[in-house]
Each structure stands twice: as structure tokens, then as C-alpha cells.
Amino acid sequence: MRIAERLRRLQISAGAAVAVLLYVLMYLVYAANESGVLSQFGITNLLNDTVVLAVAAAGLTLTVLTAEFDLSGIGVIAIANVVVATTSAGPAGWLVSLFGVLAIGAAVGLLNGWLVGVLRMQSLAVTIGTMIACEGVALLILAAPGGQVADSIANGLTGDLLGLPVAALIILGVLLLWFLLAVTRLGIALYAVGTDETAARLSGLAVRRTKLLAFVLAGMAYGLAGYMLSAQTGSGDPRASDGFLLFMYASVAIGGTSLMGGRGGVFGSVIGAGILTVMQKMLFALGAASFYTDVFSGLIMLVAILIGTLPRVMPRLRRSVA
């Protein structure tokens, strides 16, 4: 009871707890079937493969919590990737391009948030529009794969810092920011708006501003994800993020965040991203053909959703028995 209470305070849902177990299980299978997984190199490697999806899914979670869709993420990632590939040269290039991509993400988020939160347009359709437009912008900046990501980024962010993988530090940083956000007024408003918009409004919360800020923060997270992607690939590719969207949503869903809003959190989504990544590696280590990755991603997503709906169904069952 006390543990459940503590987890609830940290906004860690039952779905997220299942996801953690699943992650540990897959990781153990992976480690048992592949040598070097537990070495520092192996861990860094795995985290490097996880970090982009984890950060992007973290951002997406914020908008999902307010019960809105946001498909614009891959567009922002694409822009961020080509921006880093074209602007990061020079001594302070890494810093300039970092602020650049965060600003771009915030700008796209602001547009989405204004259209959805303030003008109250349908988020699914609106963000399809902004996503396509963003991909267009990315293509304008860099029409074909190319460009060069500064070594300071490409090497600096994929290696270690003070004995810890930089990717781990980034993920921890995102989680830390999230746990801070979750206990601020804004974080609380996110949940309130997603749970019951009317009650939130009657309670005096600024529903429009909350949604707007959710989209802006999400946009910035996408920007950061694009920055990390650039560090991984070392070059720009306006199409690099094309297949990401499904996996971003898969991460969020596996992590136990409800698409209806108000339930779940970033922690689960990061674990969800971890599961998708480690699953791929585990299957590879087991010698399974690569297509199993997709089959399993889809099935895990469904199972996670079904588990996520259980707590809502259970009390009803209990009551009807009593």
C-alpha cells in the first residue's frame, strides 16, 4: 500500500510499472545472449540508441497528457537534424545549434499550441499539417542527405563524461526535469486538463495556456531529440526521422500513458522507448530476423494498452460483485 502510494505520488502508473518489469526481463535476456552487454561500452551503446526516441517520446507525453494529439514531432526532429548538420561548424557551433533547435522546437510548439489550445482546432489534423510543413522546411534547408555535424557534438554526446555515458546523463536530465515539472503548478494543471477539462476550468485553471505550454515544451523536447539524432548520425538527413512517429506513440502507449489524457507520465514513456530499443537488440542477439522487431512492437503496444485499461475496468467489476 505504501509503495503504491509513493509510486502514485511520482505519477508512475501501473502501466509504467509493468513496463519496467518488461524492460528488465528483456535486458536480462539480451545480456545472457550477447557478450559485452554489461560492459561500459555495451551500456553506452544501448543508451545511445535509446536516447533519441526517449527524449522525443518524453515531449510527446506532455501533449498526450492534456488529451491532445501531436504528430509534428518528426517534423521538428527533421528540421533540428538538418539545422545541426548545417550550422554546428565553428568553435561555438554546438551551443549555437543547440539553442537554435530548442528555439525552432518552441516556435513550432507555439504554433501548434496556439491553433489547438487557443483556437481550439482538432489537434490530430492540425499537427499533421504542421508536421508536413516542417518536413518541407527541413527539405528546403537540406534537400538531400549531407552536411556535417561538428565533431564536438558527434563525439562529445555519444561518449562518456566523468565516467558516465552522456546519453545516460541526458535521459536522467530529462527525467529530473519531468519530476520537477510534475510537481509544479503547470505539471498539475497538465493532469487536471487532461482528466476533466470542464472541472479544470471550473477550478480556475487556465486550460488554454496549459495546452499551449504543453505543446511548446513538447516542441523543445523534439528539438533536443533532433540534436541527439544528429550526434548519432554525424550528418544531416531530412528524411532521417520518417519512421519515428509510430515508435514515439508506441513508446508513450507502452509506458502506460492514456491517449485519453490525464493518466501516465514521462517516466513510463522513457521506459517505453527503452523497451522498443532493447527489444530490437534482444531479438537480434537471439538471432531472430529483424521483422520480429516490428511484430513485437505492435503486439507489446496492444498488450500495454489492454493492461492500462484493466485498472479502469477492475473497480467496476469489483463493485458489481459486491
Binding site: 502510494e5 505520488r9 471550473l202 480556475g204 463493485r319 458489481s320
Partner: protein, 427 residues
């Protein structure tokens, strides 16, 4: 100004403490919401208002309705507003004295209170001045002390459309098996309810908001499961597990929420009405608009819906005409037993007259109607018999001859047991 809403404005997944202090809970280090401190403060605050049994850390969803109502009231009060608005604050409250003491306290502090209630004794006890609203307009504004109970009731009920409606003799047919007989229905919000409804009868259902009437109506068409009890339709037992099964048995619900459950907001009026008979309008799978019009015209005449509204989107119609369309659809579905849940809510006077007439015509033709209304005068004037619900149970079954608004009100308020005993007629 602060308001305690009747439809509570608490966010169910959040803790009691957070809900109390929304929208700007106290923070530490400039940004972090101080949960622990909030919970401590909430505990003291609640204790100050005489509530000790609520855990401030518990999510609101875990609290029973009565405690949520208290929370809603405390939340409105502790901010010391100059104007406090309480909207039916006792709807889910068992301990009214708690509230009355609090109101006395805030009054002593100089707060003005606007208290909305159906319950006469509360008004008498609390209020100095009373405004009676009916159909959205003010009909009386006077000091409570100057008003007699009778005067208040009369003004609440008023001389309304229904009194001008020519009452016709009852057309109840006793010689046939009941159109619907319910025995010992038990389910969530339905506590051992039995009744029998003859063809040609209008059986009223009265009850204050939230005393089980909505659940009862839903249970009867299978929108909500029943745990036990049996339903007979025209003498044979039927399991009405879904609205489809109910429709097949000739039982049609005209639901409470016209906007979300009555009309199909994106369809034209004609499509709204023809839906149950759409197969009959489509020979060989292809929809014949001519046939559809023909079918619909028959019922629009019955419900007084002007024909030029048929091609319009249904949301372009007034509430009254929308309700006529919903009634027309029920007739179209071949109803033999209509369950009307507050069919005249938000409906203009002319449409009300039409609805009354449709009801009369329907029972004269051998149909049966179970009729809930928030407007007591309708129940008094239209029903052959009226069940009164209190806390999900039938507490009265009053025949037409003995039916008055005052009686219904006192039965529905759950007190005045003397009146209950004199009017309760064995079913």
C-alpha cells in the same frame, strides 16, 4: 465570489488537498508544489470545517459522493468570498446540519450567500429573501417570512402550459396484461423497484435530482445492467439487455440528454426521424428518399413538426422541435411503451402542448407511457398514477385523484412521513 457547483468541479484523479487549493496551490523554492505542506494545511482546514474522516492525500475519485460535495463546499467557503454561490449543495449531502452551521458562520462574517435549492424547508431555515425562477424568468422576489408554503409551491409550479391543456379522461385498460411489469429491480442506483404499467396508462415518476430516476429509466432499456429482478412485457418475461432488445419489445426511451443522446446532431431532421425505419425506406439496399419522406410524414403530422423543417440540419431547430423529432423517431420505431425522461425540459410552451397531446394520443391508441418530469404540474395533470422516488426507492404510489404537487414534493424530499402514510396506496 466563489461557487460550489452542483455538478462538482473537482478533478477526480487528483488528491483532496490539491483540489482544495487549485488553481494556485502553495509552492516552495518558487516553483515546486509543496504537497506535504498542502496536505497538512488541508487537514487543518478540513478539521476547521468539521471534517476529519477525509484523507487529504486520497484522490477525489475514491471518495463517496457526499464527501466530494463537502469538499466542493469547503473549497468555495475557505477563500472567504464576499459572495458565496451554493447550487443545490444538499443534493448528495446526508448531514445537512453541518452545512447549515457553516452557512451561519459565513453569514456572521459578512458574506452574502446565494442558495439554490428545490427544498422548501432549507429555504425557510436559511434564507431571508427568496427569488423564484420559472422557465428562466423571475416570478417572485420577496422576504421568506412573508410567504406561505403554499404560495411558494404555487409560484414554483405556476400556472403553466399543462394547466391550459385540456385534460381528458383516463384511457387505462385494465382488462389486458400490463404493457410493462417490473418486479424487484435491483441494480446500481435502483433499489428494489416494482411497478406495473397498463396499456393506455401514463405512469408518472417523480423524484428530486439524483434519486435514481435516471438509473431506473436506463435500466429498463438495458443501458445499465440490473443485478436482479424481472421485467414482463405484455405478460411475457423479457430480458432487456440492450436498447436493441428493448426496441424489439416495443420499449423506446426518450432520453434525458437531448443533445448527446437524443438527436444526431450532424444529420438532417428527416434522417433523425427515419433512422429506426431506414431499412423500410431502402428497398433493395438503396435508400429511396421518396419512401423516406412518405414514412416520416406520417409521424411528423402526429407530433406537429412542420414539414419544412425536415430537410434542415436538426441542430437548426429549436429545442421544442428537436424534441418533437425525437418523439417522432420513437413513434417511427414502433413504440408500444414509451419511457419519457423529462421530455419538456428546455422546450417552449407551444411545443409542450404538442408533446402533451402526443402523449395523450399515444395512450388513447393503447400505448403505455412511463413519464418522469422535473415539472411537478405536468405529473399532476397528465399522469394516471405517479411513483415517487427517494434514495433510489419507491416511497409513494399516488393515484390521480390524490395527486398534488405538495404531496409529491414532501414525499420526494423524504420527510413528512405523515403525508406519506396517508397517500401511500398499495400497489
Amino acid at each position: 465570489m466563489a461557487t460550489a457547483f452542483q455538478e462538482l468541479s473537482l478533478v477526480p484523479t487528483m488528491s483532496v488537498a490539491l483540489n482544495l487549493f487549485l488553481p494556485r496551490p502553495a509552492v516552495r523554492f518558487a516553483v515546486l508544489v509543496a504537497r506535504r505542506r498542502l496536505e497538512r494545511e488541508a487537514k487543518t482546514l478540513l478539521a476547521e470545517y468539521g471534517i476529519t474522516e477525509i484523507d487529504p492525500a486520497a484522490p477525489v475519485a475514491d471518495l463517496p459522493l457526499g464527501q466530494r460535495q463537502r469538499l466542493e463546499i469547503v473549497r468555495a467557503m475557505f477563500r472567504r468570498p464576499r459572495l458565496l454561490l451554493l447550487d443545490e449543495p444538499t443534493a448528495a449531502l446526508s448531514d445537512r446540519d453541518w452545512l447549515f452551521a457553516l452557512i451561519a458562520r459565513v453569514l456572521a462574517e459578512g458574506t452574502s450567500v446565494l442558495y439554490i435549492s428545490h427544498k422548501l424547508d432549507e429555504i425557510r431555515r436559511l434564507c431571508s429573501r427568496c427569488i423564484i425562477l420559472r422557465n428562466g424568468s423571475k416570478v417572485l422576489d420577496r422576504a421568506v417570512a412573508d410567504m406561505s408554503d403554499d404560495e411558494i409551491f404555487r409560484n414554483m409550479a405556476g400556472r403553466s402550459a399543462v394547466e391550459r391543456f385540456l385534460a381528458t379522461p383516463s384511457s387505462v385498460r385494465m382488462e389486458v396484461p400490463p404493457a410493462m411489469r417490473a418486479a424487484n429491480l435491483i441494480g446500481e442506483g435502483v433499489d428494489d423497484i416494482s411497478f406495473s404499467l397498463q396499456p393506455g396508462e401514463i405512469l408518472g415518476v417523480a423524484g428530486l435530482e439524483g434519486h435514481g430516476q435516471s438509473r431506473l429509466f436506463k435500466s429498463l432499456v438495458g443501458l445499465q445492467p440490473l443485478r436482479s429482478g424481472r421485467i414482463e412485457v405484455s405478460g411475457t418475461q423479457r430480458a432487456l439487455r440492450s436498447p436493441r432488445a428493448a426496441r424489439a419489445a416495443g420499449i423506446i426511451l426518450v432520453p434525458e440528454e437531448r443533445k448527446s443522446e437524443g438527436i444526431f446532431k450532424d444529420l438532417t431532421t428527416i434522417a433523425n426521424i427515419s433512422l429506426p425505419a431506414i431499412e423500410r425506406a431502402s428497398p433493395g439496399y438503396l435508400l429511396s428518399r421518396r419512401r423516406e419522406r412518405m414514412l416520416v410524414r406520417r409521424v411528423t403530422a402526429e407530433v406537429d413538426l412542420p414539414e419544412q423543417y425536415l430537410p434542415l440540419g436538426v441542430t437548426a431547430l429549436s429545442g421544442g422541435n428537436q424534441q418533437k423529432a425525437v418523439l417522432g423517431r420513437a413513434l417511427m420505431a414502433g413504440a408500444r411503451c414509451l419511457l419519457l425522461f423529462d421530455p419538456t425540459r428546455g422546450v417552449d410552451v407551444g411545443a409542450k402542448q404538442s408533446i402533451y397531446r402526443v402523449m395523450r394520443d399515444f395512450v388513447e391508441g393503447g400505448g403505455a407511457i412511463l413519464f418522469y418530469s422535473t415539472e411537478l404540474d405536468e405529473l399532476v395533470h397528465l399522469c394516471d398514477r405517479c411513483l415517487v422516488l427517494y434514495r433510489n426507492r419507491v416511497v409513494g404510489d399516488v393515484h390521480r385523484a390524490a395527486l398534488t404537487q405538495e404531496q409529491i414534493l414532501s414525499l420526494a424530499a423524504g420527510h413528512d412521513p405523515g403525508a406519506t402514510r396517508t397517500t401511500l396506496v398499495k400497489a
